[in-house]
């Protein structure tokens, strides 16, 4: 009896730890940012008002809530810079996720169809870039994409172009950097689902009169839907908020939302406006996650 109670205590604890983690490191910071987004900027330490003063008692609390306002959200709506920035981020995230899917799927498929003893090697090779810091790899790309960098040298030497094109500070460079950096996040979930797939199903499809290409679309692809969904989300969501890659490789004319937040925080020292931008971003990204949850539940029920 006592042992049972002890066991159930540990089980409850094990279930609650992740919730406690999310509470402490996601919900609390989010509430702080949310509060900040309802504040006003000021030249002080911290650079916003109101600050909750518990020493002032009940009146202090009342004054605190009275001072909160939605001004920053109104600002987001009135200045097209923010809207453009959001659209730009979603556009870059959507297109690069699509490119990642088109490049990543054949890679994952090839790994999954390689003899088993080679698969582990190929998976390690896929994640090998992570052994170097992202920043260093992006600096390496800056080097490669320079006017006189290796890429242009090769292009000119092969006479593909006569004049070396400008790569840096363009969207193309941003795309190159993002696709390069996020490829493992697309390949790994796809590989995980494709590797589990029973190859007899393709034989069954062929046996029933289905050519290979059709069998891919009617059997393989639908069965890898959960991997496609996971890879897409795993890439799309962080790319929307990506800061380092567009900042180092991309142009400055239309910043992504991560750059806008950075500018508000560190350039304009407007913490409340930056917080409002961040809160809206979180709300935007919750939508695809909910869609994913819904789809994943449906797929789980199917399997």
């Amino acid at each position: 009896m006592k042992r049972q109670r002890e066991e159930s205590f540990w089980r409850t604890l094990a279930v609650r730890i992740p919730y406690a983690w999310l509470l402490a490191f996601f919900l609390v910071p989010f509430l702080i940012v949310l509060k900040m987004s309802l504040s006003q900027t000021t030249i002080a330490q911290p650079p916003y008002t109101p600050v909750l003063d518990l020493a002032a008692g009940w009146q202090g609390i009342e004054a605190f809530f009275a001072a909160l306002s939605f001004d920053n959200y109104v600002l987001l709506g009135s200045d097209p810079l923010y809207l453009l920035s959001y659209l730009k981020s979603v556009e870059i995230a959507a297109f690069s996720t699509l490119i990642l899917l088109v490049i990543g799927y054949p890679i994952a498929y090839a790994i999954a169809r390689t003899p088993r003893r080679w698969q582990a090697v190929l998976v390690v090779l896929t994640v090998l870039p992570f052994w170097t810091s992202l920043l260093i790899r992006i600096y390496a790309w800056m080097n490669i994409l320079e006017r006189d960098g290796p890429l242009n040298q090769v292009l000119v030497a092969l006479r593909i172009v006569s004049e070396p094109p400008v790569w840096l500070a363009t969207d193309t460079a941003t795309y190159i950097g993002i696709v390069y950096s996020y490829l493992p996040f697309m390949v790994l979930p796809l590989y995980a689902t494709l590797e589990k797939m029973d190859e007899t199903l393709l034989e069954a499809a062929a046996d029933l009169g289905c050519r290979r290409w059709r069998a891919f679309w009617r059997v393989t692809f639908p069965l890898s839907a959960s991997g496609v969904l996971a890879g897409t989300l795993l890439c799309f969501i962080p790319i929307v908020g990506e800061f380092v890659i567009p900042d180092l490789l991309g142009g400055s004319q239309s910043p992504m939302i991560g750059q806008t937040i950075w500018t508000e925080f560190f350039g304009n020292k407007d913490w409340p406006a930056a917080s409002a931008v961040a809160v809206v971003l979180v709300c935007l990204l919750v939508t695809p996650i909910l869609v994913y949850q819904h789809q994943a539940m449906r797929l789980a029920r199917r399997d």
Binding site: D207, G209, R211, P222, L223
Partner: protein, 377 residues
Amino acid sequence: MGTVGAKRGFAPWADPNPRPLLRLEAVTKGFGGAAAVDHLSLDVFEGEFFALLGPSGCGKTTLLRLIAGFERPDTGRVILDGVDLAPVPPYRRPVNMMFQSYALFPHLNVEANVAFGLKQERLPRREIGQRVADMLAMLKLENFGRRKPHELSGGQRQRVALARSLVKRPRLLLLDEPLAALDKKLRGETQFELMEIQRRLGLTFVIVTHDQSEAMTLADRIGVMDRGRLMQVAPPAEIYEQPNSRWVADFIGDVNLFEGRLGDDGSSIEGTAAGRLRTAGKVDAEPGAPVWAAVRPEKIAMTRQPPASSGDNCLAATVVDIGYLGDMSLYKVRLAGGAQMKAAIANIGRRPDGEAPAFDEEVWLIWPPEATIVLTR
């Protein structure tokens, strides 16, 4: 001889000018040096239920995959309806296969699984719907059309797999261990259903199985395979009563085997561990040649009293072990010379001389000469 044991008077293989539906000509297929199928030739006839029977790893599944087109023969030809199938890819062969794992598409419901093959033929939607509905009705799956494979029992999944492979009306249906995953009772029921379906649709079935009672029940003819070769191809009764080799006699059912020499009269075997054994009929060997006598345990009668002298084989023995199986008992006995034999006695009622023989009892084993099968290899 060819028609011995043939069911329902169906014996196209006995025709002097056979016109097989499927013909395998010296087909060989190796994997990494080892031949899974070794110079194998076989004819299968229209409307036939043919069983490939053999121990695991004998190459029977490889043979099926060669016919379906998933493997290509190293040498030899696979001919269907007089057409060499070598250049025909699996998706164009008028052959369908029911996979051992069923290989149902997990993302499609029962209807869509069954309709999959018909959609590839780009038939009109109404015809597809009709044929799928008919097939589901025939296999008593009408109420499960909307279910996904994981929502079905093992027996239902087996039926869906069968429906999916039948709905295209193949010239030849290949079944790879179709009943292996079912429990024993369901397997028995499904066997008869499978025969019924095959006869009703008039299709040709080639089934692969390692279960000899299944092959015996289902098939018009059985091909017994070992190490990539067909050891014997014949109707079930002939395989059992007239095995052509020690290997087949030993593989199918239970058997007592004795090595000896063919006697001078040509109808007895001398010098076996059981002494001189009488046989009936002519043996195709020289007197004195080494031969083997095979006696099925259930052909042997057992008595306590020595029988009156007759032409039967008659041996004195001691009971050393009894296995009671309900419908019959399997006796292990020791002969005077020390050799052991098995005799199966049907438990049809109380024996006239009282209770059945017990351990250590002295008994007589009796069997007629025609029950002694003489094997030359």
